[in-house]
């Protein structure tokens, strides 16, 4: 027998399924990897083989960490190289440094200004540095 509670349950069931379908449709519209976290792991994969497995690594970039784009790029790099910690050059002493550049430029000169020499330019704006002798 279909009473009021049964009809209400049926209505709730149908509406809930429709709502779940809408959620599913919405999820298909989301942008993939909007902060470059997954891409960052590919981008920095080669760097992980050159950098020491632990410790503090310097961070050199042409994207100011205090600005939105720079802070997102810094976060993605932090995540990719963890459990190493990366900190902007000069904040903490670091033997090694990671360059993360958005634009082409003289990466060796950028490193030299901070007291680092290029160990390897991995391309795509990723550069490994090591401190020059004090």
């Amino acid at each position: 027998m279909w009473n009021r509670t049964a009809l209400a349950a049926l209505a709730v069931a149908l509406l809930a399924i429709a709502a779940a379908m809408r959620s599913y449709e919405l999820s298909s519209q989301q942008a993939p990897d909007p902060y470059g976290v997954t891409a960052g792991q590919t981008r920095f994969a080669a760097a992980l083989e050159l950098l020491p497995a632990t410790g503090v690594i310097g961070y050199l970039t042409d994207m100011p960490v205090g600005e939105n784009t720079g802070s997102i790029a810094y976060m993605a790099a932090q995540y990719a190289v963890a459990p190493r910690a990366i900190v902007p050059i000069g904040k903490l002493p670091a033997e090694w440094a990671l360059g993360n550049f958005a634009r082409p430029g003289n990466f060796a000169e950028r490193g030299a200004q901070a007291g680092y020499r290029v160990v390897r330019d991995l391309g795509n704006g990723v550069v490994i540095y090591r401190r020059t002798q004090p």
Binding site: A6, A9, L15, A16, A82
Partner: protein, 456 residues
């Protein structure tokens, strides 16, 4: 798959703990054990890390010792199963069963689709929860980065349940694969849905259990958070579990075992997110109010170990302080006196509740349909206490927004939807327990489930 296998010892440990402390129906013990196991294992891993001895062997060894001791106790104590006969459901129950199955399948597809787009979750997953897990999994030389702002870590004082459990699993697996935090998100989402269903089945019968599942699965706000790998869904699990176990305890005249289990779950909420601390305090008040002093003492004793761990972490391990609150009382009063802040916060809460689902199938609309059809139980008022802790947590969140030193608009836009999700499953649970039992129907074979009284 390998992630789930590595998590199994933790889940077994959680199930044993629930079984030892307060035997319940097996359909409820299992999901409760999933979440609790993650909590206990994360605490063990953090303590091993703090002691400087965390490794694959020490982690699995410690868990094996606890599991072994638990199994021995289980055999010794021979806890009886709490399987209770439930009444035959109405003939139309198949509609709800099939609907819940379809809705669940859609949510699984949603989760899978979101994960394929963003395998590392949302922004905060990488910026806060999972990067701290990577530091914790890095061993003695790097775990401090998870708790120090000196190396650019965001919110080093945030509690560690999620991060430490992911780190524990990475340590067992030997690598930092993205699938581990995703698997944990799936487990907590599943455990939250299952706990909601099982607890309502226990207290109110199968019809209300499936209706609860449908209400939750229709909540886009909840579903969209499932795959982002933040700590809000785990917190919603512990909030729901605390409230649900207490509700069952209240229906059984406040046995110390269930009150203690609720205390453990509430303390795990504090070990999950900062919001868990005020929640724990509100649950304590609810227990004192409805269960009396003896129950409150029992609750406090059970909550103490993990609460102490959380406070020790905050006081002695985490470095730096959150600069979220005003430095002086006069500054705080000025902010509280600003009416524009009140209206902005009210508007944000209203908007985020509104955005829980589409207008034509909004969870509030579905609730209104159910309230119209079933009506409220005569004793609904005596069950309002179940809302105290979830509503108290929302009020605490409101107060934090009033005095936040972060830009209010930014703070609301980045967190307000999530603080609602933290209590949403518990609100659905409490709402359905306030509805009237199914009316007698000719096709309702057998005796209907008798809703136990929850008032003292």
């Amino acid at each position: 798959m390998i992630d789930f296998l590595a998590m199994i010892p933790a889940f077994v440990l959680g199930w044993i703990f629930v079984r030892l402390l307060a035997p319940l129906e097996s359909r409820l013990e299992v999901p409760l054990g999933l979440g609790l196991g993650a909590g206990i294992s994360s605490a063990i891993f953090f303590l091993l890390t703090w002691a400087g001895v965390a490794s694959r062997i020490s982690t699995i060894g410690a868990e094996a010792v606890f599991i072994g001791a638990g199994v021995a106790l289980l055999f010794r104590l021979k806890r009886p199963r709490q399987e209770r006969k439930t009444a035959a459901p109405p003939s139309w129950i198949w509609i709800l069963r099939i609907a819940a199955l379809i809705a669940f399948a859609l949510v699984v597809m949603d989760f899978s689709q979101s994960l394929s787009a963003n395998p590392d979750g949302g922004y905060d997953a990488a910026a806060i929860w999972n990067i701290r897990a990577r530091y914790l999994a890095g061993g003695p030389q790097s775990w401090h980065y998870a708790v120090s702002p000196a190396t650019g870590t965001n919110h080093p004082g945030y509690p560690l349940l999620v991060s430490a459990f992911v780190a524990r699993t990475w340590t067992l697996l030997g690598d930092l694969r993205s699938s581990t935090p995703a698997a944990l998100s799936a487990i907590f989402t599943l455990a939250t849905i299952s706990t909601l269903v099982a607890a309502l089945w226990t207290l109110a019968g199968e019809v209300f259990a499936w209706l609860a599942a449908l209400l939750l699965l229709a909540s886009e706000g909840f579903v969209s958070q499932a795959s982002v790998q933040y700590a809000d869904i785990p917190l919603s699990f512990f909030v729901l579990s605390s409230v649900a176990v207490l509700a069952i305890g209240a229906a059984r005249d406040w046995p110390p075992s269930l009150v203690a289990l609720a205390g453990v779950f509430a303390s795990m909420a504090a070990w999950t997110k900062n919001e868990g601390l005020p929640f724990l305090a509100f649950v304590f008040v609810a227990v004192l109010w409805r269960g009396g002093l003896r129950s409150a003492k029992c609750f406090a004793a059970a909550a103490a170990p993990v609460l102490i761990l959380t406070l020790a972490f905050k006081l002695f391990v985490a470095e730096g302080r959150e600069s979220m609150f005003p430095a002086t009382a006069s500054q705080a009063f000025q902010m509280i006196a600003a009416s524009s802040r009140w209206s902005e916060i009210f508007a944000s809460f209203a908007r985020n509740f509104w955005e829980l689902g589409p207008p034509w199938a909004h969870p509030f609309l579905l609730m209104a349909i159910l309230a119209w059809a079933f009506g409220f139980a005569p004793q609904a008022r005596s069950r309002v206490w179940m809302l105290l802790a979830p509503a108290g947590l929302l009020a605490a969140d409101f107060a934090v927004y009033l005095i936040t030193m972060s830009g209010l608009t930014w703070h609301l836009s980045t967190s307000n939807n999530r603080v609602i999700i933290q209590v949403w499953p518990a609100l659905i649970f409490s709402f359905l327990l306030m509805l009237r039992e199914l009316p007698l129907a000719a096709d309702n074979h057998g005796k209907r489930p008798s809703r136990s009284k929850t008032s003292k």
